[in-house]
Structures are given as C-alpha cells and as structure tokens.
C-alpha cells in the first residue's frame, strides 16, 4: 500500500511533494502520541484499579464510564475548543478522553479475571494489605495489563489523528496532513498519509506491544507455544 501510494504520489502533478514536511509530521504525531499514551494510560490504570478495589466507586461511576466510552473521540473536540482553545492541551484532552474510559473499564475487567485463589494463597503466606497488592495482585494482573496497554495505544492513536484532523495546531501532525491533502484535491497524497498512519500503528504493535504481550503470556504459560 505504501509503495502504491508512493508511486501515485510521484505521478501526481499537483502541488510538489515535500518529504521533509511529511517527516516532520510523523515526528510531531509520534511525540504527541507518546505523551498522550503515557498520560492516558497512567490515568486509565489508576482508575481501573480504583474501580476494581472500591465496589462503591464502581457502582457509582462504572455506568458513567460505560456511557462515555461509547462517544467517538472526535466528539470531545468541540468541548476541547471551547474549554482550552485550539492548541496542544486540547489535542491531549481529546486523546485522554477518547481512551481513558474504555481502557480503565477493560483493565478493571482484566483485574477481575485474577483467580481468587491467588489472593487466598497470598494471605495464607502472610501477604497482607499493601504487600498483597504489590506481590500478588499486581503481578497477577500482568496479562490484563498487557492487553490494556495495547488497547490504550490504539485508542490514543485514533484520537490523536482525529484531533489533529480537526485542530490546526502548529507543528502539524499526520492528521493535519490528511486534511490539507483533501483541500489540495490530492488523492495520492491522502492515500500516502493514510498508509503512513497504518504503518505506524502496525510498527508500534509489532515492535512494542506484541512482544511484550507474548513475553508475559509465555511466562505465565498462557501462550500456545507447544
């Protein structure tokens, strides 16, 4: 797909193709992605842990989270513009809102799959209170954690591209490139940018989240590597 769009782009007679601008856009988006991922993942994991540990909190805000996570991330954009303006914090806001609710719910559900037997064994061996959390519940949640990280990445990435598409914030990221290609009536350029978005998503999954999940699953004996 990348090759195809590159050929198309080369054949395009429209506005001249400037690879440096594209490279800058990739860097910009990646940087925003890293920041957004770290912030929203941290928040999601803390919220997920809270929903899991305090049933009262879960009963109160659980349904709210469930409702809010059905919102597509770009639906947070109007609110972000009015609250924060069209700027970097607004993009971060959209990323966090677009991923946190869904990921915290999935992390909570992952924590719920921890066999209660581990807790009983931990208590029997003298792991109480914070020790139980640190030495039993957290390690036991690693498989749930790895899939939540993966999910968090894909939600943050989608939200980021949507936000960049809507906000005209300098430096411009890939989402903005897509928008400007549309204004230039340049289909090959649109295809190229889309292909880049897919490629970055696949690379992150293959180089980072896939191996992490595989390692954890192998360690836990969950992988089917017979």
């Amino acid at each position: 797909m990348l090759l195809l769009s590159a050929t198309l782009a080369a054949a395009s007679s429209n506005a001249p193709w400037r690879p440096p601008a594209l490279l800058a856009a990739i860097l910009t988006s990646t940087l925003r992605l890293v920041v957004g991922f770290v912030v929203s993942t941290t928040l999601s994991l803390l919220l997920g842990l809270m929903l899991y540990s305090f049933p009262a909190v879960n009963r109160f805000v659980g349904p709210l989270f469930l409702g809010l996570q059905t919102l597509p991330s770009v639906c947070w954009a109007p609110l972000a513009i009015l609250l924060l303006g069209s700027n970097e914090p607004a993009i971060l806001f959209v990323m966090v809102m677009g991923s946190t609710f869904a990921v915290s719910l999935s992390f909570r559900d992952g924590l719920r799959t921890i066999p209660p037997l581990y807790t009983r064994a931990g208590l029997m061996l003298g792991a109480t209170g914070p020790k139980l959390l640190q030495h039993v519940l957290l390690p036991a949640s690693l498989p749930a954690l790895s899939s939540s990280l993966r999910q968090s990445f894909s939600f943050t990435w989608r939200s980021l591209l949507g936000a960049e598409f809507i906000f005209d914030v300098y430096p411009h990221g890939l989402g903005f490139m897509l928008q400007s290609a549309r204004h230039l009536n340049d289909i090959p350029r649109i295809a190229t940018v889309m292909a880049l978005m897919v490629t970055i998503g696949i690379l992150a999954d293959r180089l980072c989240f896939g191996p992490l999940e595989h390692r954890i699953h192998t360690h836990f004996g969950l992988a089917n590597t017979a």
Binding site: P115, L117, Y118, R120, A121, L123, M124, L125, G126, A127, K131, H135, V136, P139, A140, L142, H219, F220, G221
Partner: protein
C-alpha cells in the same frame, strides 16, 4: 448451614483425615481452621490462641496448587519467607532445604507451567512447609493427579511427615488415601455436616497398600460413607424410581425362545 456442632481436637504431630461425600463441608471445615472463613458461631484455637485470619502458622495446600505463575518454583517457595522479611541468606538456606525435601532441587528455576501436575503439588507442599507451620492443612491436594503420581506423592508425604512430625489436617474423598495416611479418620455427615464417626488407625507407617488390615479398614470406612449417601438420598425425599442401589446382575435370563417372531 453447612456445618453444625463439630468439635475436633488434633494433638501435635497427628495426621487427621476428613472424609465424606461431596457437599458435607469438609473443605468448609478446613477453611475455618485456616481462618479463611469465619464461622457463624464457635471458635478455632491453636495452642490456646484464637485463630482470626489466615496466616503462616497454618499453611494450606490447595487442590489446584495455587502457585504463582509469574514466579519460578524456587521463588514460589521463598515467597512466604520474603513476606516475613527474613534476611536473604536465611531465606536461601530454608528454600534450598525445602526444595531438597520434596526432591525438586533440579527444577528450582523452572516456571510453574513447565512442571508436571505432581511436581506442582510438591512445590506447593514445600511452599507450605518452608514456613515451619504448626499445622499443615491439605485440601484434596492429590485429587487432580493420576493414580501413579498420587501413590508416589503418598509415599513422599509420609516421608516428610515422618521427618517433620507436623500436625496435618487432610481432606479427601478417597477412602484409599485416607486409610493409607491417617492416624485418625473422621467421617463427616451431610445436611448439616457433623462428625458421623471417628475411626482411629493404629497401623504402623509406612503402610503396605495390599495389607489385609488396610483393606478391612477401607471396607469399614467405605461402608460408613455408603450408608451416609443412602441416608442422604432417603432424607432428601427422592422419588422411588430415583433411588438406586447396586443390583447383582442376573446371569440366568431365559433364552430368547421367541426370537424371530415365529416366522
């Protein structure tokens, strides 16, 4: 209500086995002894001190081993010592000794899913014993194992018990297991769970599986449990056609004289 009016006293170093049909509260009784379940009334004391919560003085071996999959065999055994904040040198010595006691020194660094079912249970026993508990509680620890492995583990457990002289409270539904291991067998009653019969076993250890004494004892225990199951079926008001007792097969059925329908 699962259990009612149960009083059980184990003397130090005694091997007590609880047997009974499913649902009679064997495991509940064990959980109460461990402090995992709080009884509605009554109390548990260990050397005159009340038991309020689970803890290392009454370590438990679970049916599903309950080993931590993110740790190696060695780290699993070391876990309780680490929770007790013991210095590393002492932890290492005790963990190595426990591994040696269950003959698993060669598998110390294996992950749990790399061990066989029998090895997992041996690690679980080592993890419980390394804490030097006053009482060892075992909840059907060998139920999920194949017969050969189970026999081997019976021998190992008897060897361990002989060396350490721990008080063991052991739950099983296998009569063979009970007569092989116990100093005293307690047959439980269902609905509500009560002690139906206490059978002291005075045979010397280790016991031979094929000894007539053992078979006679197994017969007595089995009879108790069968009577109990029949009693439960009768009291649960089952319809007559649902009540089934073993029948002697009739090998003298009349010949099929009308075979062929007279053609």
């Amino acid at each position: 209500m699962t259990l009612q009016d149960i009083s059980l006293d184990c003397s130090p170093g005694e091997f007590v086995v609880l047997v009974g049909p499913s649902g009679c509260g064997k495991s509940t009784l064990l959980n109460i002894a461990a402090g995992m379940t709080t009884p509605d009334s009554g109390s548990v004391t260990l050397d005159d001190a009340p038991v309020m919560s689970p803890g290392p003085s009454r370590s438990m071996v679970f049916q599903d081993h309950a080993l931590f999959p993110w740790l190696t065999a060695y780290q699993n055994i070391e876990f309780g010592l680490k929770m007790a904040n013991l210095p590393k040198s002492e932890r290492e010595g005790r963990t190595r000794a426990a591994l040696a006691a269950v003959h698993l020194t060669h598998s110390a660094d294996k992950l749990i899913h790399q061990l066989s079912g029998g090895m997992k249970q041996r690690v679980a026993i080592a993890r419980a014993l390394v804490l030097d508990p006053a009482v060892l509680l075992m909840d059907e620890p060998f139920a999920a194992l194949d017969a050969q492995t189970r026999t081997l583990l019976h021998l190992q457990l008897q060897e361990l018990w002989g060396n350490t002289r721990k008080t063991i409270l052991f739950v099983t539904h296998s009569v063979g297991e009970a007569v092989r291991l116990a100093d005293r067998i307690i047959v439980l009653h269902t609905h509500p769970g009560r002690i139906r019969k206490e059978i002291p076993v005075d045979l010397p250890h280790p016991r031979r599986l094929d000894s007539p004494d053992l078979n006679e004892l197994a017969r007595i225990v089995r009879k108790e449990i069968e009577d109990e199951v029949t009693h439960v079926n009768a009291t649960q008001g089952l319809a007559a056609e649902d009540l089934w007792t073993p029948q002697t097969p009739d090998h003298h059925a009349p010949p099929l004289s009308d075979l062929g329908g007279g053609i």
